[in-house]
């Protein structure tokens, strides 16, 4: 996966690689014990004082949650006419946002599932909040297809259930596949995250100073007591869940891409879409993980746990998947020319030179040009620069989704049906509102749950050779 990974979890190999690593940045700064990692991570959650910065950040995000609720209430009252959508651009912002959000979630699943199976030790300190990011991103994503239904309150008609109308869904439609893909993805991500949280919830239960905290964390921890037999079943179940979540990393965005590519519209009807969407999803997801990780590690002083090695590895994954996306851009253009079909060629020319050409060139600037700086180790080690690149990637990927949805739709086969799409204030309110919802949920998570897996960090302490004398330290304390 990258230049800076240690493959094995065997204790002997670990100490060896620990010695031979030399100048490499470790995945955990030395000197930590089981007790001190536990105390440091749980203190963020258990401290009675909420930092002022948290209130400011959460408050700002919460304002946008209110804007979102207002926009949704108005949408329910008046209908989708408040958006800039029309025929042919019936999808507009809603599906752009859906595809963008669901893509962001993929990095969390990749980190928690695939990197676990590949025994990438550096995933340990970032997997918890990457998984949280996945769940919140899926929540934001799932909202949009429902909202863009003309009558959103009937969305449950997608579920196959016996009903008095005696109607059933059409299982040959990608929209139904999408419903199953996204709901499965959301459910599996949530239970995977929760299972990972159980031992840490038990830690919070045992360490919470308040009665309410002990009760709430106690209920959520389900009576976890670290029994050896429990741990064995837990580890096997966790590993199998990782194995089950792994195909989801590839399948969810593939199914989302089928929503487009099964249609015959020029700009959508392309065989490269599934892999191109998956790479784009992981690319934008790692952009979002970096966007969150960089300020959070600084604000909560977690530089010892989320080290430069994590940031550099994530930058490398971003570069690699970004290059796959760039290949997708090249192939889309090439295949349009190679197909010799007039409408396909026109769709690409319209993308390059048409009324939305600025979007296309901005996409190339963000997702092709900007990431090339990550080839250099010095750039990957420069935290502010990484943050800026991650932000550019987030913007670039949103614009890419916009390009795929709107630019392809607005000029289809029949020039008489061509129409421009102009977002209204309600489009923007819903989109920025969803960003606010995501941020607000993230702030709540940082305050109420351990953002780094404590039990896995204790294992990491053992594997990196620490932890032996912790008992004496505790007795002294």
């Amino acid at each position: 996966m990258s230049e800076e990974t240690t493959g094995s979890r065997e204790p002997n190999a670990q100490t060896q690689s620990g010695q031979t690593q030399g100048s490499r940045t470790p995945v955990l700064q030395p000197g930590y014990t089981y007790a001190s990692v536990t105390d440091k991570i749980s203190a963020i959650t258990l401290s009675r004082r909420t930092p002022l910065g948290w209130w400011i950040g959460f408050g700002f995000a919460f304002i946008w949650v209110m804007v979102l609720l207002f926009a949704i209430a108005y949408l329910f009252a008046v209908g989708v006419g408040i958006w800039g959508i029309n025929i042919p651009v019936a999808w507009g912002f809603a599906i752009t946002n859906f595809v963008w959000w669901i893509g962001i979630g993929h990095a969390g699943t990749l980190i928690s599932a695939i990197l676990l199976l590949m025994r990438q030790q550096w995933r340990t300190s970032i997997n918890r909040f990457a998984e949280a990011m996945t769940i919140f991103a899926v929540a934001c994503a799932a909202m949009f297809p429902v909202l863009h239904l003309g009558r959103p309150w009937y969305f449950y008609w997608l579920i196959p259930y016996p009903n008095t109308m005696d109607m059933w869904p059409q299982f040959r439609s990608p929209l139904i596949w999408d419903f199953f893909a996204v709901s499965t993805y959301g459910t599996v991500s949530l239970i995977f995250w929760y299972i990972g949280l159980i031992p840490d919830l038990a830690t919070l239960r045992d360490r919470s100073p308040s009665r309410a905290g002990r009760a709430v964390y106690g209920i959520l921890a389900m009576g976890w007591r670290g029994a050896a037999r429990h741990w064995r079943r837990y580890e096997i179940a966790y590993l199998l869940l990782a194995g089950l979540a792994t195909p989801l990393v590839v399948s969810v965005h593939s199914v989302v891409s089928l929503d487009f590519t099964v249609a015959q519209l020029p700009g959508w009807h392309s065989t490269i879409f599934p892999p191109y969407f998956v790479a784009g999803a992981i690319f934008s997801g790692f952009g979002m993980v970096l966007t969150i990780a960089i300020p959070v590690r600084r604000f909560y002083h977690l530089e010892d746990f989320v080290t430069m090695r994590h940031l550099r590895n994530m930058a490398l994954v971003m570069l690699a998947t970004g290059l796959i996306v760039d290949y997708g851009y090249a192939m889309e253009t090439f295949m349009a020319w190679y197909s010799g079909r007039e409408v396909e060629i026109y769709a690409i020319l319209n993308r390059l030179l048409g009324p939305y050409s600025l979007v296309y060139w901005a996409v190339l600037g963000c997702n092709v040009l900007a990431i090339q700086v990550l080839w250099f180790r010095r750039a990957r080690s420069n935290v502010p620069l990484l943050f800026v690149v991650a932000l550019i990637v987030n913007v670039g990927m949103w614009l890419e989704r916009y390009m795929i949805v709107v630019v392809s739709l607005h000029r289809d086969f029949l020039p008489s049906s061509w129409h421009m799409f102009y977002p209204t204030i309600w489009d923007w309110a819903t989109f920025i509102g969803s960003l606010g919802l995501f941020t607000a949920l993230l702030f709540l998570f940082l305050r109420l749950l351990p953002m780094i897996s404590i039990s896995e960090m204790r294992e990491l302490v053992l594997e990196t050779g620490g932890g032996g004398d912790n008992q004496e330290q505790r007795r002294g304390a």
């Binding site: 014990t33 089981y34 536990t38 105390d39 196959p160 005696d166 109607m167 059933w168 869904p169 059409q170 299982f171 040959r172 139904i176 596949w177 199953f180 893909a181 499965t184 459910t187 599996v188 239970i191 299972i195 031992p199 830690t203 239960r205 045992d206 360490r207 106690g218 209920i219 389900m222 009576g223 007591r225 670290g226 029994a227 050896a228 037999r229 429990h230 741990w231 064995r232 079943r233 837990y234 580890e235 096997i236 179940a237 199998l240 869940l241 089950l244 979540a245 195909p247 989801l248 399948s251 089928l258 896995e456 204790r458 294992e459 053992l462 932890g467 032996g468 008992q471 004496e472 505790r474």
Partner: protein, 184 residues
Amino acid sequence: MSTPSTPAQGALYGLVAEFPTSEALLAATRRAYSAGYRRMEAYTPFPVEGLVEALDFHQTHIPLVVLLGGLAGGIGGYVLQYWINVIHYRLDVGGRPLHSWPAFIPVTFETTILIAALAAVLGMLALNGLPMPYHPLFNVPRFAAVTRDGFFLCIEARDAQFDRVETRHFLESLEACEVSDVEP
């Protein structure tokens, strides 16, 4: 409550010993097993390699549960689609075949993953006997360290060889830092 001179009063759940490191706990568990104790459990803040083997615990049944879940999800998902779109609610679109199996693959795949994942989680919780809000070990104040840096071995009173005094002496001989009674 942890002094050895505690007078015997009522039945006990067992005796729990605390060890300073995972290595000490592992060695103690092995010695307790070879001394003939069977009804016992080790408690650790993270999974310790070799500990369940020392307790002679091998079959978790989790893989079987997940396999059955996956099979149920896959077969159930396909049968659901077949029954709906081929038998019960035929949708004839341009005379295309009703049993268009390639179109049924995505949903079959998703239901397989979904039910297998739910089976993994619910199976793990059920086999572990969770949720269990009350457990006698929670009565031992020191036991809270099990979620921080404490390593514990509990020999339960229902063990055939359990004797309140003998077992305590045995646990103390294993270089435990502390041995406590566990009230039921």
